[in-house]
């Protein structure tokens, strides 16, 4: 079994960055001072990931307002819509709103949204289904017009497409997502990360057949037994619960990874959603424990 660990998604802001951004909004500090704090947060996050032994580094998306905004800023035919609650959290996002039937990226993502990192990296973008949700535009059109050009300008070992909605839909169908992902072929390696939801139905429908490198599953909502034997893709196993402040036991995670190894050859231990849904000290501790679980699991297998 090949076992990795990394953290897709938006990471939590430190108390110092929280205060800096609050001060900025109230005119008590400068954008430059906030930038300096973002860089300190990023450096600390990279260091924590390196200490945890992660295989791919993430920049934590600390400048991203939510999963969509940088893409909406860079696209023609898309704009920010109503402030919308993100699932069962008290965190909100500006829902994408389409002003044309065929939105398109007018330029690459602004450089500030993709921080340079000292090693192989992951990037996270919204899945075409998530980006299209509620806009009236099809996921395939979003993929072709917006995500494909964005991906073409990015350099990453793996791009994780975050998909928080599909697993929660009562009659979720993979067809639209599959068709959209076909339109993204030929770029960097992709994984679809089904966050915060029971993916049992999607696994039953053959989610492993999606044209991507990896599939992410929330194992706090999905039963291990729903994963078919001989799972052919990189399985991003959501084993750290970012909607809970309870801290995971590395040994329990490592044991779970071993059991999962009976069904999938390639596994990456990841959170089940963005770490921004817990405070930074809790996020850091969860991240550290994820690294310990990976180390313990690799040692147990050796």
């Amino acid at each position: 079994m090949a076992l990795k660990a990394f953290i897709p998604g938006i990471y939590a802001r430190s108390e110092e960055l929280v205060q800096a951004t609050r001060d900025l909004d109230r005119g008590r500090t400068t954008p430059e001072a906030v930038e300096e704090q973002v860089e300190r947060d990023q450096a600390a996050l990279v260091s924590t990931q390196q200490d945890a032994g992660f295989d791919l580094l993430a920049d934590g998306m600390l400048r991203w307002q939510d999963h969509f905004r940088p893409l909406l800023e860079a696209a023609d035919g898309l704009e920010t819509g109503a402030l919308t609650r993100f699932l069962d959290t008290n965190t909100f996002y500006r829902a994408p709103k389409a002003t044309t039937a065929t939105p398109s990226l007018s330029g690459p993502l602004a450089a500030r949204y993709v921080a340079p990192l000292p090693g192989p990296r992951i990037l996270t973008l919204p899945s075409p289904f998530a980006l299209a949700k509620g806009t009236g535009v099809t996921p395939k059109t979003m993929a072709q017009g917006v995500l494909a050009p964005a991906l073409g300008a990015l350099d990453a070992e793996l791009v994780v497409l975050a998909e928080p909605f599909l697993a929660r839909e009562e009659e979720a169908k993979l067809d639209d997502l599959a068709e959209a992902l076909e339109a993204l072929a030929g770029g960097p390696k992709l994984a679809v990360w089904f966050t915060f939801g029971d993916a049992g139905g999607l696994l039953e429908q053959g989610v492993a057949e999606l044209p991507v490198e990896g599939i992410g599953i929330d194992f706090y909502a999905t039963s291990l037994t729903d994963v078919p034997g001989g799972f052919p893709k990189l399985l991003l196993a959501g084993v750290v619960d970012t909607r809970s402040s309870l801290l995971e036991e590395p040994r329990e995670l490592a044991e779970f990874a071993q059991r999962l190894g009976e069904r999938a050859e390639r596994i990456a231990l990841v959170p089940n959603g963005d770490l921004q849904y817990v405070s930074e000290p809790v996020a850091r501790e969860k991240l550290t424990r994820l690294g310990k679980a990976r180390t313990a699991s690799v040692e147990a297998a050796a």
């Binding site: 402030l83 609650r85 069962d88 309870l246 995971e248």
Partner: protein, 389 residues
């Protein structure tokens, strides 16, 4: 036929002024802070504001006393804007969630979490049985009774919102969840235990205490109510457990939700006399009182059709933008609602939500526009129903 009249009321928070924030943090004030206190004291008619200005100039003011001044300012700000039912915009509380949790037992802080953009909230975890050492709104209500000239409405954060905005380290199983197919049914049952614990042991005792002090309108704030579509029955149950048998006017505030989700669940919430709901956030800014002009208000017919005929507190101010609605836009939103409801007596007027993310300048202008727009709507209706000749 009697003239149409719509009651205007506040919803919740207002920004805390810089002189309060800095005093509370032990920071030095500058001349702009003093000028803020002076100019707003004059503008909204705070009696004795010179005393505050002197205290601030002297330095070393007592933060609690400055908070009471801030409370007086916010009361007058709303009264001066013409709002008829008011409160102090949370000046004596830390924040709607934090204040309740800080004064309860059974919770531990877990730090700061982002709400959106550069807005954050403190989040705690339930770690044991919920308890209330002493009611936490009594001092505030007693103070406001002495300070307010207009009628008061007291917001109390509701049980379901407190529960769903908290982590639950107490009822959530600590082992066996990972890969165990821990389903929604178990998740909901855990939330039910926490929510009803809060309703019985935190909210209801507070309501009883407020009523004992003379409160006659309490708004149960439930901005988190529709967070989980399959937990709406629990929200309703917790509201009923909180208020059942108590002699007071109870309204609830809902915001930034897919309001369709509330139906039919809230058909069982007959103890709620009024739903104060944010709609402007979803609406257009152009004038017009037809359905096509007012897409943000499409759902209001469902509130109209509730079996117990509650009043709709119509949110007409988008609190997420500095855009100040024109009185004519407010008027048209009200006229559309009246058209849908058919009965103006079932419409009252309020902002979408608390205005704490706006400056006092913007909040004041928005509230003035709300009141002026309400008067325009009354005029339009009264004109339309005036006897011919």
């Amino acid at each position: 036929m009697s003239e149409h009249k719509f009651l205007t009321h506040e919803i919740g928070s207002l920004a805390k002024p810089p002189w309060l924030v800095k005093t509370a943090q032990g920071r030095e004030l500058d001349e702009s802070d003093i000028e803020h206190a002076r100019s707003w004291g004059q503008k909204v008619g705070v009696e004795g504001y010179e005393e505050l200005v002197e205290e601030l100039q002297r330095g070393g003011a007592d933060p609690d006393e400055v908070a009471r001044w801030s409370s007086r300012y916010c009361v007058r700000l709303q009264e001066s804007a013409g709002v008829e039912v008011i409160w102090d915009g949370e000046q004596l509380r830390s924040e709607m969630y934090a204040w309740a949790i800080e004064h309860a037992t059974g919770f531990e802080s877990r730090g700061t979490v982002r709400s959106f953009d550069n807005k954050y909230y403190s989040k705690s975890a339930a770690v044991g049985a919920v308890g209330l050492p002493e009611p936490y709104h009594n001092d505030e209500f007693s103070f406001l009774k002495s300070a307010a000239k207009h009628r008061l409405k007291i917001p109390v954060t509701g049980a379901y919102t407190l529960a769903i905005w908290s982590y639950d380290d107490h009822h959530t199983p600590k082992e066996g969840r990972l890969g165990g197919g821990y389903g929604r049914a178990q998740e909901i049952e855990a939330r039910r235990e926490l929510t009803l614990d809060i309703a019985r042991n935190l909210i209801r005792p507070n309501l009883e205490a407020l009523i004992g002090l003379g409160a006659d309108w309490i708004q149960i704030d439930e901005p988190g109510a529709s967070t989980e579509a399959d937990e709406l029955d629990l929200f309703v149950e917790s509201f009923n457990v909180s208020v059942e048998g108590l002699d007071c006017l109870f309204s609830t505030h809902l915001c930034f939700s897919d309001y369709d989700l509330f139906f039919p669940a809230i058909e069982g919430m007959s103890g709620c006399s009024q739903y104060c709901v944010g709609f402007a956030n979803y609406d257009l800014r152009e004038l017009g009182s037809s359905g096509a002009d007012r897409p943000g208000y499409e759902v209001i017919s469902k509130f109209r059709d509730l079996p117990y005929d509650p009043i709709l507190g119509l949110g007409v101010l988008d609190i997420h933008t500095d855009f100040v609605e024109s009185p004519e836009l407010v008027r048209d939103r009200i006229l559309y609602a009246v058209d849908v409801f058919g009965d103006p007596a079932r419409i009252q007027v309020c902002p979408d939500c608390g205005l704490r993310t706006r400056s006092w300048e913007v909040a004041y202008e928005k509230l003035r526009a709300m009141v002026e727009g309400t008067r325009l709507a009354e005029e339009a209706l009264n004109r339309a129903h005036a006897p011919a000749g």
